[in-house]
């Protein structure tokens, strides 16, 4: 199989660093696009922590050199014919997405904290209580997201947010940001983190634009 890391401009340089399982990362050109691939990575595409970081390292090297569309981890095609077909059939989408992410990076914000423990509800059935509590948690998380998300949203050209991705994460936001804005974004994250005693805000990145490589966003 051919493992695909990312799609970029035709003339983007192939990363010098190794790919999955120490394989060579090669450039495969089609039209005005190129895919960056490895042939038959040993160990397959098991999503171990090391393999995820290896995929990430390849994409980051491409990101440092220009616009890049990262593939989801584990994306493979059976042969060069399929790869050519992928690049040709979705060329318009890929060009549009490349234009959108050019000069920009993705930053992540996670708000960690605990929601207030719901008041005991006398006389409610267990099932009903569970649903009401769940609804209340969602409402509380949305309220916090409404307080935090706009501060970062205004610094971004596109964004997406998720409520309660896991128990103690109230919301997780992804932001597509001009490279020059990264410093300001980080400063804002630090300020807000200091202001909010009830929350912990963790900002990560810059990431390749995983969350904005397709069609989603604002």
């Amino acid at each position: 199989v051919i493992y695909v890391y990312a799609i970029a401009d035709r003339d983007a340089a192939a990363p010098a660093g190794p790919g999955l399982g120490g394989t060579l990362v090669e450039r495969f050109k089609e039209g005005r696009l190129a895919a960056f691939v490895s042939h038959d990575p040993p160990g397959g595409t098991q999503p171990t922590e090391a393999a995820l970081w290896q995929h990430e390292a390849v994409v980051e090297e491409l990101m440092d050199a220009g616009a890049v569309l990262p593939m989801r981890f584990g994306s493979v095609v059976l042969g060069e014919g399929d790869l050519r077909e992928l690049l040709a059939s979705r060329a318009a989408d890929f060009h549009r997405a490349l234009a959108r992410v050019r000069g920009r990076v993705e930053l992540g914000v996670r708000a960690l904290g605990r929601l207030p423990v719901p008041e005991p509800r006398a006389g409610e059935s267990d099932g009903r209580r569970y649903l009401l509590d769940k609804l209340e948690r969602r409402r509380d998380a949305a309220q916090i997201a409404d307080q935090i998300h706009p501060s970062f949203d205004v610094l971004s050209v596109a964004s997406s947010r998720r409520l309660l991705p896991s128990e103690h994460v109230l919301f997780a936001g992804a932001y597509l940001v001009e490279r020059e804005q990264v410093g300001e974004f980080e400063r804002r994250a630090r300020c807000l983190d200091h202001e909010r005693a009830d929350l912990e805000l963790v900002c990560t990145g810059p990431w390749p634009p995983y969350s904005f490589a397709g069609g989603e966003g604002k």
């Binding site: 990430e56 493979v76 912990e200």
Partner: protein, 69 residues
């Protein structure tokens, strides 16, 4: 990726921040990015994903609890 912002809590921060970074990595690589439709994409080990989230979040819950007045 570099750790952009570090949480204000003292002690154990670097470990925790690394955990959050790992969760963010997993989120992106397994939950976002360009998808090849109709081709073999790996059967993602959802369990791994859940475990990673749990690990980072247990750590965060502990930190917050120790900070409460």
């Amino acid at each position: 990726v570099s750790a952009a912002t570090v949480s204000r809590t003292e002690g154990g921060t670097s470990v925790r921040h690394r955990d959050v970074t790992l969760v963010e990595l997993v989120d992106r690589l397994l939950g976002a990015g360009v998808v090849i439709s109709g081709e073999i994409t790996l059967a993602v080990a959802d369990i791994d994903l859940v475990n990673l989230e749990l690990r980072a979040l247990i750590a965060s819950a502990d930190t917050l609890a120790s900070r409460s007045p």
